[in-house]
């Protein structure tokens, strides 16, 4: 069977460049918020550093989102905050990131604005934790809701949060936080297990497409994470490899998944 068109269906990739980058960065932003929230709630001495990092990653991610939008100069951006759309993953993501950013900001500002000291840190930490978790979970959900795009199956719900944690823990290891190592090893182990399982959950033409378009990056990312898992004696190298693997994996899943289910 061959096909020919007058006019063109809109089959070009719709999430490219900065938008795909967002799917990577939001993991770092949300993950870092979760990490900072936990450290805050536990009154960990490292917490300030991670609060700054969380704030930085959230701002960076939001900047990338804004810069990547062709509506960047329009008022419509504010409708993200003026509307109530609980069925939309992106709406949740917006509020998750914003509330995390707000609580990070409020805690950090306590140093200079005495008035803010009245807000209990536990409350801000909890808000940050919830916001961070939402931001952590939302990319996977935003992909899974597209039933028509079979590469983005339910595995995304796990792969995206886990790789996000893999990334932020790797950053923590690179910064020399020893407590991160145990969790990083765990995250890497879970990631490797997911990577082995995921292709088995794909079927038919979705699988063929995935194998054709994504296998190289997928396998490379998998190997990087696996090597990181084995190399835990060299924490910085392991962290670097894990981070690279997770970044590549997220990027690739977003790019390769933009394929319609066969049938049209």
């Amino acid at each position: 069977m061959s096909e020919f068109f007058y006019g063109i269906p809109n089959t070009e990739p719709f999430w490219t460049g900065l938008k795909t980058l967002h799917y990577v960065l939001v993991g770092l932003a949300g993950g870092m918020a979760v990490l900072a929230a936990i450290l805050t709630l536990r009154q960990h001495p490292d917490r300030n550093r991670y609060l700054w990092l969380a704030g930085l990653f959230i701002l960076l991610d939001m900047f990338v989102l804004w810069a990547g939008s062709s509506a960047r100069w329009y008022f419509s951006q504010f409708w993200l905050f003026l509307s109530f759309e609980p069925r939309a993953p992106i709406w949740w993501g917006t509020w998750g990131l914003s509330s995390a950013l707000a609580s990070v900001g409020l805690i950090l500002l306590k140093t200079w604005v005495p008035l803010l000291k009245r807000i209990p840190e536990m409350l801000l930490g909890t808000v940050m934790l919830v916001g961070g978790l939402v931001a952590l979970a939302y990319p996977g959900i935003a992909l899974v809701v597209n039933e028509n795009r079979p590469v983005w199956n339910e595995m995304m719900l796990v792969i995206f949060p886990v790789t996000a944690l893999l990334m932020v823990l790797a950053v923590a290891m690179l910064l020399g936080s020893a407590w991160a190592r145990r969790w990083e090893v765990m995250a890497a182990a879970v990631t490797v297990a997911l990577l082995v399982a995921y292709p088995l959950t794909l079927q038919g033409e979705a699988r063929e497409h995935f194998m054709r378009e994504g296998l190289l990056v997928y396998a490379t990312a998998g190997v990087l994470v696996a090597v990181a898992l084995v190399l835990f004696r060299n924490p910085r190298l392991a962290a670097g490899l894990g981070l690279a693997g997770a970044v590549g994996l997220r990027w690739m899943l977003v790019q390769v998944g933009q394929i319609q289910a066969p049938g049209l």
């Binding site: 061959s2 007058y6 329009y74």
Partner: protein, 765 residues
Amino acid sequence: MKLQRRSFIKLSAAAVGAMGVGGVAVMSNRAKASPWYHKEVKTVYSICENCFWRCGVKVSVVGNRVYKADGYKENPKSRGMLCPRGQGAPAQTYDPDRLKKPLIRVEGSERGSGQYREASWEEALDYIAKKMLALKESHGTESIAFFGHGTGDFWFVDFLPAAWGSPNAAKPSVSLCTAPREVAAQYTFGRAIGGHEPIDWPNSKYIVLIGHHIGEDTHNTQLQEFSEARKNGAKLVVVDPRFSTAAAKADRWLPIKPGTDTALLLAWIHVLVSENLYDREYVEKYTLGMDKLIPHVKDFTPEWAEQITEIPAGVIRDVAREMAAQKPRAILPPTRHTVWYGNDTQRMRASYILNVLLGNYGREGGFYIAMPPFLEAFPTPPLPLVPAAGGCAGPAAVTEQPEGFRPRADAGKFFAQSTAIQELIEPMITGKPYPIRGLFAYGISMFHTIPNVPRTREAIKNLDLYVAIDVLPKEHVMWADVILPEATFLERYDDFVTVAHKTPFVQARFPAHEPLWDTKPGWWIARELGKRIGLEQFFPWQTFEEYLNTRLMSVGLDLETMRQMGTMVQRGRPWLTDWEKEGRLPFNTTSGKIEIYSEAFAAAGFDPLPKYEEPQPVPQGYYRLLYGRSPVHTFARTQNNPVLMEQESTNAVWLNTEEAARLGFKRGDWAFMINPDGMREGPLPVRVTERIRKDAVYITHGFGHKGKGLSLAYGRGACDAHLQNHYTLDRISGGAGLRNNFVRLEKAPRPRLRSVVQIIRERRG
């Protein structure tokens, strides 16, 4: 059954009104905030110029811009609907590549080198007039030829040459298109087929199309009525070496060996005759020569035809019986482009004879009898010559040469009175029978239309004067000495278009807005030039409104009334019964009857009854080059239209799957097409398909533009005319048979072409 457009749903306007204004519109400067249809829209009647079917349209104008063209129900051409070319037609007017000012070729520069300077209309017209008068002095008025195509061609190919005194006026729509079918019709029925084929599609029950591109040529009304026929349950048989769009809709597809159609037609005639299935009563009443046809077709059995056509004898017999069972509501509609193999008049005669045996001419479900509408010409002093270029409505019926002028330069090369544009090229080179030293090209695509392009280029180089009147800088335009930029169809009045039809009608074109740039309507150019070459007496009108109004007065109308109507429909006499009521018959043949046997052909030394002649065989290693139409393009006229180019930006060469495998072509590959003389076209994409026979390849006509000023069209696809170095002259009609041309394919690297989308975005600035 006439299909009715429905009045439909009740829609609450409020629900829709919410769209676009819902929410806070602050800071929103988006284009969609004020679409054209929310502005003050003026509606103007016009006639579409994006193909030669010429549908009546009404266009929506906001300021100096037409946003939309639509058909209107009162117009018998569009009947409220439009094809893609018509829908996209307004875009041409706003093409930044348009010719914007008169141009004069820089003195001393070579033709084709494209060096021009801008000039005023005054200077440009004076320049042309001076050269014309000099040519008249040195070589006579006949030494200037006039070529043209389009609604405005009346001024440049009919009126001006006749007033000036040159019989050498021609349109490609005759000898490169309809000549064989029109000549055959004249000598069979004594009537033209005409530009609006008089087929009663909706009432037909059995339709046989031979090489017909319906659905691909998108002739609007024809496509509508074809669809009605199919909805009404007509059976459809398509004879074509290619699985065309029509074939895709057919009940039977007969993939005939190219060039053998006459054998198939003769075999069908044989079956109707030998099995006594034809309409005896009709034949006896209206025709002459059946007695000679019966012995003539005795040996043309389906078995004989099977050997030639590669269509099984059983199928041939079945189709003949099926069509006979539906007679007279069975029809073989003539195609428009009939210049195929050089024996085309005879093929068309065979087709008409078959139609006559089915008794369908002048009967419902067959051919209706088209009458031209009544409308007087503008009164002028008698022209020295009678306009003789003809058109797709057939050759002009000029049989006598007026005294004091030399006969047309193609005289004697063929039998009929049609003009053969391709035969007027040679005299530009050889000076025989007499020299043609000047040329006007109005709206045609010389290098895309006339076969043997190298010869045309050489001829143009030889000329003393070459004037092009056009809208776009097509390649041949940029060879001219003087280029006159015409206003587009949306920007100008034109003479009325009169259409011979079941209900004859007159349609009008009104300007939607002032001409953009420094462009002028064709009638203005013709008149201003006429004044400068001593023809002022033939342009007695002061304004064009006066010209149009005067013509309308002959039918009791005036221009302002017509402005509100667009179209005026008259009554016709479509059926034989209408004529018989008046005690006469419509056949203007010598005998007054349908001539199955042509005495005139016999007297001139041609076969009085059609015979099958073998087409030139395909040389080893080559394919027969077939060509056709794309539904979104018209010939070589629309390839710079951004809207249409976005739909289809190149042609592709259709190659049979097995042949592709043999040659190593895969989907997505590119190829050059090369003819036996080494002329190369392309690269163009290869369309690997099951939809074509193994002995032929196919491209759509019109791509492969070489005019660098056409930013969208330039360098895309391949041009069939550039591969058609040879043609087989039809000695009866003067038609140039184009399908005895052959090509081979060579692999080509994928060219580095920028996407049309990218170019269009940039052109907009």
